[in-house]
Amino acid sequence: MTEDILSATGLVRRFAGVTAVDDVDLSVRTGEILGLIGPNGAGKTTLVNLVTGFDRPDTGRVFLDGHDITRLSAAQRSRRGLVRTFQGARIFGRLTVRENLVVSALPRLGSRRRAESRADELLEYGEVTALRMTPGERLSAGTQRIVGLLRAVAAQPSALLIDEPAAGLNEVESDQLSRLLSAISENMEIGMMIIEHDMKVIMSLCHRVQVLNHGRTIAVGSPDEIRRDPAVLTAYLGSSSGNAHA
């Protein structure tokens, strides 16, 4: 267990009688990218919220680098190295791109100057230096997603949860983002978990994939194993046929 940078055991979360997350375990190692997939309403976002502290589990615990962080707030978890991105990029609209990154780097680096040089490095890394003084609200959706990712990285996370990075992006943007993601994974000491609908992205990026359905884990394994897993196929076909009738 100690080699897992991020892990969770027995997470349960109920909303008004519905069990959105039901006894889920997960683990991510440094350098690894874990994919989290499942049909709509499977409980993926709720799970991310539980892990990152935006929601509290009814039972179960979350560990970061071996420490129990179940009781910490989202901000506290982030300062300890557990950072997430959002479905919408949630860029700070009236701050410049550079400021977006500086905000993120500040809590860990402390000094403004160091945070700024870190931000500049990452802007270079993400090839968006030209946009450094642009307010976030003026960026295209694709660029916002990239800046959102760089911003999360600026916080120097040891574990990074990425919520649907490619949703709504075109092919080119999606490829660009995938390249950035794998570069980050290779170059930085980081454990990553990605929620994504785009199977192409998941299959090409992830080392392991975990599948949720109705709040429960129905399969964990390599992308190839998952592709062939009968339970996964049933879940997706079943739910999509269910959707078609609804």
């Binding site: 976002t45 919220n49 935006f54 959002f86």
Partner: protein
């Protein structure tokens, strides 16, 4: 028991006013400080109406204030509809300031006395040792009637649209709800509530002056937030809660501390907020989705 009647009466007054504020808050996130001045205009309509029959005076008050509310929305609020809440708030300051100044110009600052109902129904009934003012009964009755009518209205097509808009304005628009129409309707109803409040208030106070609506409006505004922003039942609940707080603090504080009553009231308000930061009933406007 007597205090309970006081609470009911005071709470109903706040509730009437709070519903008007909550309606426009719900559809466009506007904290309308001019609502107090809508009430003030309603009061002056009753003053000017003078000796015409009660029902005619009341009707003209409702019509004029309703029209004023819709007109204000057209002229002042529509252009800033998509701006930040702060901008809309200050816009409502401007409207409120303008209406108050006009009232001073037209009627003077001293105020005018007014008799809304004939003397026969402004007296007191004694029932089993309790003193019940007819006015208390009227206040509660008006509140309940309007509340029931509002609930009935909410079930009609317009009402459903209004609720949808209060829930999520962008989605409602995508579903084909006409923004201008919905907001116009909300203001018209808000105006009717302002007029109703002004009638009850004028009957209770017997005096209309340029700042007629201010205090009640401020308390109702607190009720809306304490009750749950954007939630109509919340506004009503918040109003009665506030009535309860103010009546009990007046009744229970010892004489030496009674002058600090308002400090106590606001202390309790802060306590409620700390316990329930999104209001007693969590309103749609307060909900954040990640």
């Amino acid at each position: 028991m007597q205090y309970l009647i006081d609470v009911l009466s005071q709470g109903s007054l706040y509730a009437l006013c709070a519903l008007g504020i909550a309606l426009t808050f719900g559809v466009m996130r506007l904290i309308n400080f001019a609502h107090g001045e809508f009430m003030m205009v309603g009061g002056y309509v009753l003053v000017v109406a003078g000796d015409i029959p009660v029902w005619a005076a009341l009707l003209s008050s409702v019509i004029i204030v309703g029209f004023l509310a819709v007109a204000t929305e057209r002229i002042a609020f529509r252009p800033v509809r998509n701006a930040d809440p702060e901008t809309m708030l200050v816009t409502s300051f401007a409207v409120s300031f303008l209406l108050q100044s006009l009232a001073v110009l037209l009627f003077g600052s001293l105020g005018r006395s007014v008799r809304v109902f004939p003397p026969s129904i402004t007296g007191v009934m004694h029932i089993g040792g309790l003193n019940i003012r007819w006015l208390d009964i009227i206040t509660v009755a008006v509140t309940v009637t309007l509340l029931v009518s509002l609930m009935a209205f909410m079930k009609t097509r317009h009402g459903v649209e209004l609720r949808a808009a209060a829930e999520n304005f962008t989605v409602a628009r995508l579903l084909g709800v006409k923004a201008n129409q919905v907001i116009g309707t909300a203001f018209a109803i808000s105006g009717v509530f302002a007029a109703a409040t002004s009638i009850v208030l004028a009957a209770q106070r017997g005096l209309v002056e340029p700042t007629f609506g201010t205090t009640t409006m401020l308390f109702a505004f607190i009720a809306v937030i304490v009750g749950g922003m954007g939630s109509l039942p919340g506004a009503v609940l918040g109003a009665y809660a506030l009535g309860l707080i103010s009546v009990t603090s007046q009744a229970l504080l010892p004489l030496g501390l009674r002058q600090f009553r308002d400090a106590f009231i606001f202390l309790v308000v802060v306590l409620i907020l700390l316990l329930r930061p999104e209001g007693i009933l969590r309103g749609h406007a307060a909900r954040v989705r990640i």
